[in-house]
């Protein structure tokens, strides 16, 4: 097993500048996210950014490159390495009428602000009626050889907290429209940006500063007849690739991109199952008590009479994301795994 390829320097850090739209209006996910932040800052003076190295440096992945020059240090705040207080600051200022957007250098470090997130942010409004329009954003996900502490998919932790909407977009236009909705939302929102997608996926993105994408609405990314693949984040791209390959083999897979993992758009998921009668749930978050588990349970509970096969799941085991390419590839669901799972389901 010495043939595995290693991606040199692929720990996910953004070395290069963020870049711009192409002439024909296409934007990477990275650029689309920056556009959303920029436009919302232009639109509403109450919106401000805080996080580590986001000002002078422009953020570890360069999402906020150029923001300090345009909006100044009162609205683009470089903070100490103090995640609990990043969240606390966001919450306190939101109580006083601001609309903070906090960046975590990696979503992994959200765990360093866990108490303020799950105790204060998630539970405050229910007991007091005080809205907390706070957005927490950060790069999540693996597949970039960044190992345990720069690859996490923390969406189950925060979906589980109850009072936080959790968004995991897969495409640039969705990322832009959903981040804008998140900033305008009066509730706490966690916005997880999959770092594998940042510079890899490019598409035309709306210019209209009021073009929003609705939170908690899934989207059928690819129509199909035989099997529904329900997924989100980077796995959407793998599922689409697998579906493409299977089309040639005569199997028609539908791909549903959840986009928001909490609260879940059950309706779109169930409609797809009614059509295909077979469900494969793919998530990059852990299998046990992961997002996939919840989706699978929902389907089993609410679409049982439509199912021709047991609901299948593909998710990594509940382990730290390993570094070595052989281990990380075995850990994460791959296109071939998705293909095989679809084939198996379609044979039922």
């Amino acid at each position: 097993m010495t043939t595995a390829t290693v991606e040199a320097g692929a720990a996910g850090h953004g070395a290069e500048p963020r870049g711009k739209r192409t002439e024909d209006g296409q934007a990477t996910y990275l650029v689309a996210i920056a556009e959303a932040l920029w436009e919302e800052m232009e639109r509403d003076d109450r919106v401000y950014l805080l996080g580590e190295d986001i000002g002078v440096y422009g953020g570890a992945f360069k999402v906020t490159e150029g923001f300090l020059d345009r909006f100044g240090p009162d609205r683009v705040i470089d903070t100490p390495i103090a995640e609990e207080t990043i969240v606390g600051m966001a919450v306190g200022s939101a109580m006083e009428g601001f609309r903070p957007v906090a960046e975590f250098q990696y979503a992994d470090f959200m765990s360093s602000g866990f108490d303020e997130i799950t105790t204060v942010l998630a539970r405050y409004h229910y007991r007091s009626g005080v809205p907390l329009p706070v957005v927490l954003r950060g790069p999540s996900g693996g597949g970039v050889r960044a190992s345990s502490f720069h690859s996490i998919n923390p969406e189950p932790w925060f979906a589980h907290a109850g009072g936080i909407k959790v968004i995991c977009p897969a495409f640039p236009a969705d990322a832009k429209g959903l981040l804008k909705s998140a900033i305008r939302d009066d509730n706490p929102v966690m916005f997880l940006e999959h770092k594998w997608i940042y510079r890899r996926i490019k598409e035309p993105v709306p210019d209209d500063p009021d073009a929003l994408e609705p939170i908690s609405v899934a989207r059928v990314r690819r129509e199909g007849r035989d099997v529904s693949v329900i997924t989100y984040g980077a796995m959407v791209h793998k599922a689409l690739e697998a579906a493409e390959e299977l089309e040639r083999a005569g199997i028609s897979a539908e791909v549903v991109d959840l986009r928001t993992v909490y609260p879940l758009d059950e309706e779109t998921v169930l409609r797809s199952i009614e059509k295909t009668s077979r469900a494969l749930v793919v998530s990059e978050s852990y299998r046990f008590v992961g997002i996939g588990a919840e989706v699978a349970a929902t389907i089993a509970e609410k679409a049982f009479e439509h199912l021709d096969a047991p609901v299948a799941r593909l998710s990594p085991p509940n382990l730290p994301v390993p570094f070595s390419p052989t281990l990380e590839d075995a850990f994460l669901p791959q296109v071939a795994d998705i293909r095989t799972a679809i084939e198996r389901l379609s044979a039922w």
């Binding site: 290693v6 190295d53 502490f149 052989t326 281990l327 850990f331």
Partner: protein, 352 residues
Amino acid sequence: MATKVHRAAKADARPLPDERLKEILYFLKLARYFDERMEALYRQGRLPGAIYSGRGQEGTHVGVAYALEPGDSLFPTHRDLTAQLTKGLDLKRVMAQFWGRIDGYTRGRDGNSHIGDWYGAKTFTVMSHLPIAYPVAVGAAWAYKRRGEPHVAMAICGDGATSNGRWHEALNWSAVFQLPVVWVVNNNQYAYSTPNEREFPVPTIAERAAAYGMPGVRVDGTYVLEVYEAAKEAVERARQGGGPSLIESVSLRWRGHAGHDPATYVPKDLLERYMAERDPVRTYEEQLLAWGVVTKEDVAELQARIEREFEEGHEFALASPFPEPGDVTKGLWVEDGYWRSEPGRGGGTEAG
């Protein structure tokens, strides 16, 4: 940036026998060579993952770690590989780790300086979250005190990590319980792009020790013997039951935060001044030459040995297999025995 660093007052006195002075030179030069070569391999696309250069900070890393005994434990960060090498990590296994191979200390489960060797060199396997090992060092130090063992725990973190709540919790706790622990802050003046004045509002980190009721000193991290003497004093005080201490060792991070970062936010003249006047490796080498502890030939021989060791390490790493994909779930639980064959591990758990 005002850094109140100063030269060792006792620069003429040799604090250690010649052989040990030479050993310090070996670690300094090894660290420098390793750092430069690994960066070159990274830039050529021949090294996977990330690198976190400790260049310019070798005086801090070697100075503090060299003050520890084999039974003492070290709790470092991503930046502190040099301290771990000084504490006894095997270069071959270190390099296997960087290449994600089975012979790395984490057996491919983690990469680069996210490394450690609890049963051998007695170092904590680094985790990224800052400064996540500070509270853990409290537990190790408590164990030594509770059992009446003559060991000391030492934890290192950067200047930026002192902004985090757990840094303060750990210092406070260690002083309340008078634990045998030495808190080291590698003040390389930058936390990623963030300079000292955006992390803390006091002139020095060392003076914070007073608020926790422990001694605190600020030393010149570019002069290894000054660092060593301060660390030795703190370690021995802790060993004698004198409780915790804080050491702030000041130098400059010569390279970016990680391999990808050109660090244009560091003023050029500051960097040039440090590289020209405060090079911890060159300063010490010149000191040993002036003392007559080594000759130019000795230094050349030492350098040749280091280069040979690096090549051997590199070959060893590339020849080591990748972990078997089918083993991905192994090693989570003690009972599967995956880690039992680790050298020094001796099967079972330490406690059991």
